[in-house]
């Protein structure tokens, strides 16, 4: 009798558990990041952040009782590979949504695949053409270059420094910035008095800066990613250039201050709020998410979380929000994403709509200045 009781109990428990396991088949999310190759400075923190946040969600019991499974592939920054891997994620792994790729070039190549297969894609790259014009299945979390340019120009206009020299790196990031700098100049009453470029591997930019010194520019705007801007900062100091130097959000990490050393002092740049998370007023709605992200990243990887990782964090959290609302198919997730309003993430406060799949406003950037080897917010 007793034994029967026990066996019935065991049976019940087994059924209960197996049905629970059955119901909790994980929701698969795909990820394409350039973890190696020239864009590794983007892909590595992105993959780390995505993994970290998915692990944490699962540790806390998943979403709606279901675990998330992140299937992440390395595109090595290669658009052809990105397309192949996107197809693999959709056809073989049957993911409900894709996060990434890391660069604008890869994203543009993957867009037709996602559109055709009708799987939502949240890109982590910054190019504005990703979401302009709006594509039904494509969203993005990285801030548009145009917002960063707007921040600098606004400041210059306010301070009546309207003659600027621009110095941009001759790669995708630099040329996109250069385009935006030229396109928005007139709107803010800015005149570009000289327009120079430098190569991503160049080691001495005194020639370009000497030329700028000879012009009547009132400010220099440099658009690039490390190490070029650090060399420019040092060269500018060597040449005794006194006019203010602005950088892009491409160097808004401690690495830049470390590389440029004393020459970084006084340089201003637009940045995602993540580098100044602890300086933000408590009223800032992003502060809570930012502090959590920075602390987590520090615990997991013993490194400073940057805004690149933040793009992936935002993408995972946005998908989580959609799943929380009951969406577990590609179609439903897409529809829920489009309804996201005021989601305070790392990159900014996201509000998607049918007309806007970038979701951010100018408040996504703050203007920061390097003072005593750290960032301060410029008022």
């Amino acid at each position: 009798m007793n034994i029967r009781c026990v066996s019935v109990l065991v049976m019940f428990v087994t059924v209960l558990f197996s049905s629970a396991v059955f119901a909790a088949a994980p929701i698969k999310i795909g990820a394409l990041f350039a973890v190696t190759g020239p864009a590794a400075f983007l892909g590595e923190p992105e993959r780390n952040s995505a993994k970290m946040v998915v692990d944490e969600i699962n540790k806390a019991g998943g979403v709606q009782g279901r675990k998330l499974e992140l299937i992440s592939y390395d595109t090595t920054g290669d658009a052809t590979k990105a397309v192949q891997l996107a197809t693999k994620l959709i056809k073989d792994d049957k993911v409900v949504a894709i996060i990434g790729p890391s660069t604008t070039g890869e994203t543009m190549a993957v867009i037709p695949v996602a559109e055709k297969e009708q799987v939502p894609l949240i890109s982590c790259s910054a190019g504005s053409k990703i979401s302009d014009p709006v594509k039904k299945w494509i969203f993005k979390t990285a801030q548009n270059d145009s917002l960063a340019v707007g921040r600098i120009y606004e400041y210059l206009q306010k301070n009546k420094q309207t003659n600027v020299s621009i110095l941009t790196v001759s790669d995708g990031f630099g040329s996109s910035g250069r385009e935006q700098l030229k396109a928005q100049a007139a709107k803010y009453g800015i005149t570009i008095v000289s327009d120079d470029t430098y190569g991503p591997k160049d080691t001495d930019m005194t020639a370009q800066l000497t030329k700028i010194r000879g012009s009547h520019a009132q400010a220099i705007i440099c658009w690039g990613t490390n190490p070029g801007p650090a060399v420019i900062a040092k060269n500018a100091k060597q040449l005794g250039i006194k006019i203010p130097l602005f950088m892009s959000h491409g160097v808004s990490s401690k690495k830049f201050i470390e590389l440029a050393g004393d020459a970084a002092e006084g340089i201003k740049l637009p940045s995602g709020k993540v580098v100044v998370a602890d300086l933000l007023p408590n009223s800032d709605q992003q502060k809570k998410a930012l502090m959590a992200f920075v602390k987590d990243y520090q615990n997991h990887f013993k490194a400073e979380g940057d805004h690149f990782g933040g793009h992936a964090w935002d993408a995972v959290m946005l998908i989580k929000t959609a799943i929380e609302k009951g969406a577990d198919t590609p179609v439903a997730i897409r529809d829920q994403l489009e309804k996201v309003k005021g989601f305070a993430g790392i990159g900014g406060s996201f509000t998607y709509s049918a007309q806007d799949h970038a979701g951010l406003g100018k408040d996504a950037f703050v203007l920061v200045e390097v003072k005593n080897k750290d960032w301060v917010i410029v008022k």
Partner: protein, 293 residues
């Protein structure tokens, strides 16, 4: 165009040119001893900078001690490279050797990426960052270090090749390997020497330039190519003509970037390279049968 601007372009060009010259001489020393272009030369430049960083950060050595250590380790790397990759080759045809050096450079770069990561690193200047003003143009103390060290190395080099037995032996190899071995010169040892000297010189170049340009696992590629250009302009001589080749290249790049357009900076170097190879393959200063050392 003001005078101080031109002066600035020339001064900047001279200091970058000195680095190209050092790397270029490394190319020509190996070329003269072995008849091959060692495309791994740029990687020793990278090793010099990154090893200095490691000795500074990990072993907490002062700069004056870290530099010789870094040069020593890079030199050993050059020695090992010659022993393991160049010497065992059964049929050392030039094309085989060139491909091996390319393979070696990719291997070294890959290992460096694993050891030091993909980030760019900076090492401190030798004596501060306070600019020195020369007639309206400015240079940094580090530029003086670069020029001075390059000068010293060239003088030592000259002395070695003309006044020591092994230097003379190496010159003999470059004139005629077979004849050199017939008179009892160990040609293989000379090849090994050439790798040791040029990897040490590459490392020095990498170290003295790192405070200005910073360093990363992949800096060797571009610097190596520019050094190669300098060597070609100098007609693969390991003497003063490669130095002048490097300086010309540096100044033209700088003037080109300042006066024409910065977009053409690298193009200038490679146009010069092609022109020289087409029109004067023996180098800018060489007679067709010039001595090579």
């Amino acid at each position: 165009m003001q005078f101080d601007q031109i002066l600035q372009y020339v001064l900047s060009g001279l200091s970058t040119g000195a680095i190209y010259a050092l790397i270029g001489i490394g190319f020509s020393i190996i070329y003269n001893a072995t008849g091959i272009i060692n495309f791994a030369q740029g990687e020793f430049v990278m090793l010099g900078g990154l090893l200095t960083l490691s000795f500074l950060d990990l072993f907490k050595l002062p700069l004056w001690a870290a530099i010789p250590c870094a040069v020593a380790v890079s030199t050993v790397a050059g020695l090992v490279f010659e022993r393991l990759a160049i010497r065992p080759l059964r049929q050392p045809t030039p094309i085989n050797l060139v491909i091996i050096t390319i393979g070696g450079s990719i291997l070294i770069r890959g290992l460096a990426m694993l050891v030091w990561g993909k980030d760019t690193h900076s090492i401190p200047s030798f004596s501060g960052d306070i600019p020195i003003i020369i007639g309206g143009a400015t240079i940094l103390p580090q530029h003086l270090w670069i020029l001075a060290i390059t000068l010293v190395i060239i003088i030592v080099n000259k002395f070695y090749f003309y006044y020591t037995i092994s230097g003379k032996a190496m010159r003999a190899c470059s004139y005629n390997r077979r004849a050199a071995s017939l008179v009892g010169i160990d040609v293989r040892r000379m090849v090994l020497f050439s790798f040791i000297i040029s990897s040490a010189m590459g490392a020095v170049a990498g170290i003295i330039v790192a405070p200005l340009t910073m360093t990363a696992y992949d800096v060797g590629v571009m610097l190596g190519l520019k050094g190669f250009c300098a060597a070609i302009i100098g007609g693969m001589s390991s003497g003063i003509s490669t130095v002048i080749g490097g300086l010309i290249l540096g100044v033209l790049e700088s003037l080109g970037a300042g006066l024409i357009s910065s977009g053409y900076k690298d193009a200038i170097a490679f146009i010069i390279l092609l022109l020289i190879l087409f029109i004067r393959p023996q180098g800018l200063f060489g007679k067709a049968d010039s001595e090579r050392v």
